[in-house]
């Protein structure tokens, strides 16, 4: 810290004004007390005869319960020429059943203190209700009706089609979205994760029959997992699950193709004339969660760009002020993984910011981090893990995560130990092995005339 030439000291001693160019003797923060014991609550897991997976976990002190149903039905299961049919199917299921209209479903959910939430992704569609504990069995019944008896009302189908057309348009104006879309298209090509948006013509071509067929081909007990987390009467809940889902047809077996991620260097620029910022994604394929290197990569990511105190954020935000919210992430796919740094950067600083990002990657590759820096980031990760396991949401998403990746619950129980064991050398090694400067993909959405000339070192090495 050599930036203390002009110090503004406002303290109890000199409330009056600007003072002193030298700090008084600094105190150190108090050391933490011994860690309090933290135990992950164990789940009860069983399988119905029809193949449906059931998970129950009593958790927390407030009288609420979250019920989430994950179905292996996502974009990977779509006809490539019918992008978004998986999402439209799931959304339409919430718009009416054989015995209840969409309005009646909404009122019933409201009476339990909730709204039916439906979200569809690459591999899964999720249906959930977060209700008062007293409504646990009612919520299970409602979700079962939605999952098993959708009526697919034609009027609501047309409304959802219009919504998707509109959302498509609004998304296409969002630079952040455009950067993610272009990056996904490069990394996944014509695989499901690369098919980000349907064309308007596609959306207009879908019929209700396409939706019915998608449902028929992709929904059933074998593809379904229910998670019930919170405070609930276990006996009643188990009975409700058995009653509502026990005689559901087994249905199709899960179909979860692994997608491959592009290798080699790629570059794309999406012009947004006049943009005041460049939305940038800079990334590369890395080993997936099942790899022996997965934990090293996880800690490396937090240290390099995945936390506020990380090196890249300290550099391009806190030293240079190039960006407000830069961050690196590991995007864990199913059998795939991508490390990337994303940032919205002042247009005039696009090149300098990317140079600094590259510099930080190189610095980690050239010199192992200190033992202290690694210990600090490991403690951060473990603390965040404990925080994450202190809410219904967090507990449920962890269970869903390990199931999706076939990791087993010992992934969670062993998490803290694995993270603590990572060494500086292992972090340097994975940075060297995987963050290859010559194979990084760069996507920039911004003002081409101003930003592109700043990128010569990135572009020339590509072409």
């Amino acid at each position: 810290m050599n930036q203390r030439r002009f110090i503004l000291l406002i303290s109890s001693v000199c409330l009056g004004g600007i003072a002193v160019a030298q700090s008084p003797t600094r105190q150190s923060p108090p050391e933490p007390a011994p860690v309090r014991p933290f135990h992950l609550a164990a789940r009860t897991h069983y399988v119905l005869p029809n193949g449906m997976q059931v998970n129950l976990l009593q958790f927390g002190s407030v009288p609420k319960v979250t019920i989430e149903i994950d179905v292996s039905a996502g974009r990977v299961n779509e006809d490539p020429k019918q992008i978004d049919v998986s999402a439209i199917t799931a959304e339409l299921m919430g718009q009416g059943t054989l015995t209840q209209t969409g309005d009646e479903l909404a009122l019933a959910a409201g009476d339990m203190g909730a709204s039916l939430s439906i979200a569809s992704g690459t591999y899964k569609s999720k249906f959930s209700l977060d209700v008062l504990s007293e409504s646990a069995t009612g919520a299970i019944r409602l979700l079962a009706d939605v999952l098993r008896n959708p009526s697919f009302p034609a009027k609501e189908f047309e409304r959802l089609r219009t919504d998707h057309l509109r959302t498509r348009e609004t998304s296409m104006a969002d630079p952040d979205f455009l950067a993610g879309k272009k990056f996904a298209e490069i990394m996944y090509g014509d695989q499901a994760s690369g098919r980000v948006l349907p064309t308007p013509e596609m959306l207009k071509s879908y019929s209700l029959e396409d939706v019915r067929q998608y449902y028929k081909r992709n929904y059933g007990a074998q593809r379904t997992t229910i998670y019930i987390v919170g405070n609930f009467d276990e006996k009643n809940v188990r009975r409700a699950v058995d009653d509502e889902f026990g005689n559901w047809l087994t249905g199709p077996a899960p179909d979860m193709p692994v997608q491959t991620v592009a290798t080699g260097q790629h570059f794309a620029f999406v012009d947004q004339t006049g943009a005041t910022q460049s939305d940038v994604i800079y990334g590369i394929a890395v080993p997936d969660i099942g790899s022996p290197d997965a934990t090293y990569l996880d800690v490396m990511n937090s240290l390099l760009g995945g936390s506020f105190g990380s090196r890249i954020t300290s550099n391009i935000r806190e030293q240079h002020g190039y960006s407000y919210s830069p961050r690196s992430t590991l995007s864990q796919g199913y059998g795939s993984n991508i490390w990337s740094e994303s940032a919205a950067i002042t247009t005039s600083a696009t090149g300098p910011a990317l140079q600094e990002i590259s510099k930080e990657i190189r610095r980690l590759q050239d010199t192992p981090p200190t033992v202290t820096e690694v210990r600090d980031i490991e403690q951060y990760k473990n603390g965040v893990f404990i925080l994450g396991n202190s809410s219904r949401d967090g507990v449920l998403s962890n269970l869903s995560f390990v199931d999706f990746h076939h990791l087993g619950d010992d992934y969670l129980t062993g998490y803290v130990g694995r993270v603590q064991a990572v060494t500086p050398q292992q972090i340097q090694d994975v940075a060297r092995k995987y963050l290859l400067a010559g194979a990084m993909t760069l996507v920039v959405v911004g003002d081409r005339a101003i930003a592109l000339p700043q990128l010569s070192s990135f572009v020339s090495s590509t072409h």
């Binding site: 933490p32 933290f38 927390g60 407030v62 609420k64 977060d130 509109r166 348009e169 935000r317 925080l387």
Partner: protein, 465 residues
Amino acid sequence: MKIRRRIGWVCSILFAVVVVCGSKVSGQNVPIVYYKLPNGLKVVLSQDNSAPIVAVGVYYQIGFRIEPRNRTGFAHLFEHMMFQGSQNLGKMEFIQLIQKNGGILNGSTRFDFTNYYEALPSNTLQAVLWAEADRMRGLQITDANLSNQKSVVTNEVKANVINSPYGGFPWLDMPQYANTNWYNSHNFYGDLGDIDAATLDDVQHFFKTYYAPNNAALAVVGDFNIDQAKAWVLQYFGNIPAGTVPPAPDLTEPRQTAERHSVKIDKLARKPALAFGYHMPERQTRDWYAMGLLDQILLQGDDSMLVQELVKKRGFADSVTGGINELGNLYDYRGPMLFTASLIHDEDVSTEQIMSAVNSVMQAVIDKPLDQATLRRARTKLVSSLYDDEANAGLGKVDLLASFALFDDDPGEINTLVDKFDELTPADLQAAAGRYLRVENRTVLEVATASGKDANGNFPSGSQQ
């Protein structure tokens, strides 16, 4: 579609914590220990041993409403400065301290307060209290740090507003169009020129004026020992001198007597959008509680009347969103405040069509008392959302306890809220609707695309509608 808001690592002006806190519906009370230090600092301690974590919040009663007139955006810029160095913690050291103790942290600037908060494993509470006291005692900031954060904040405004379609709509826009008192109606994210003009003198003066213990509340929620926490609070905060906080300016809004209507051009937007906002009754009046339930009935959840009418029945939009206090929740402001709803719609649907449908919904609750089933559902939804503090590591409870301490000197309100809502009758809701959901109390704000209407609400010649 939800309007996207990018949240930064720290110092986002938009605070994600909208979930709120426990109630006694099932007979459980939030335990509260409340006292003041001799220097005026309000302290709220609430034990919850369900997980080995602790949440800490320091709330200063200085929001963006009352920032200096020639320094729009300054309250928020100042919030960033609180992470730039204090006597014992240099730049980045506060953040590193929280992180290495396994915690997360942030700060946010709101209408009536600025807050700083952390959530961590509970064995680290002492260090957090020490660090928060250190920056309450005084800042050590250089020109370089101020200059750096001006750049960061400028980038924040670009990311969230200038370079984003629907940026600032309606959360930043509506207060500017609906209010007439400068304190409520200026651009609180800040004119970029004003942000750039800020000086170290400004920083010093602002800190000296508002960041005093007698203008703040400290809330601690989670798994800790009350006596131990009290001792640490006294040890670290006890000898910070009180300040002389100026009286608040007149923040009142005159009663609105005619509907306002404005058009904002958004060159990045590809679809028009519409927001409508109503001035709220004064906080904690019977009408205010009634509006809390009317918000549930009109706007929260798929069962709500505006969602049913505008989304499900008419198909104008895929969602209509909003509520009371778009930068927080029903409870964490002092006021004045707006009840706002917004939607993005297609070009072939006119503002008149949408507002006509809105009027039919509003008129229904004005003309006729709601049935008991609707009232009961609204209460159930409200209570269900009150319990959701758990989802946020105790920070939702910190938010309510600190707000009630700061504004009302009574964090115990957290335990009487549900009773107040339970007392309301259909007639109360009807009366409040008649007084506050009337057309003359409303501002309508249209977002027009570059090819749509001009700021006078006219279509440019040659454009098609």
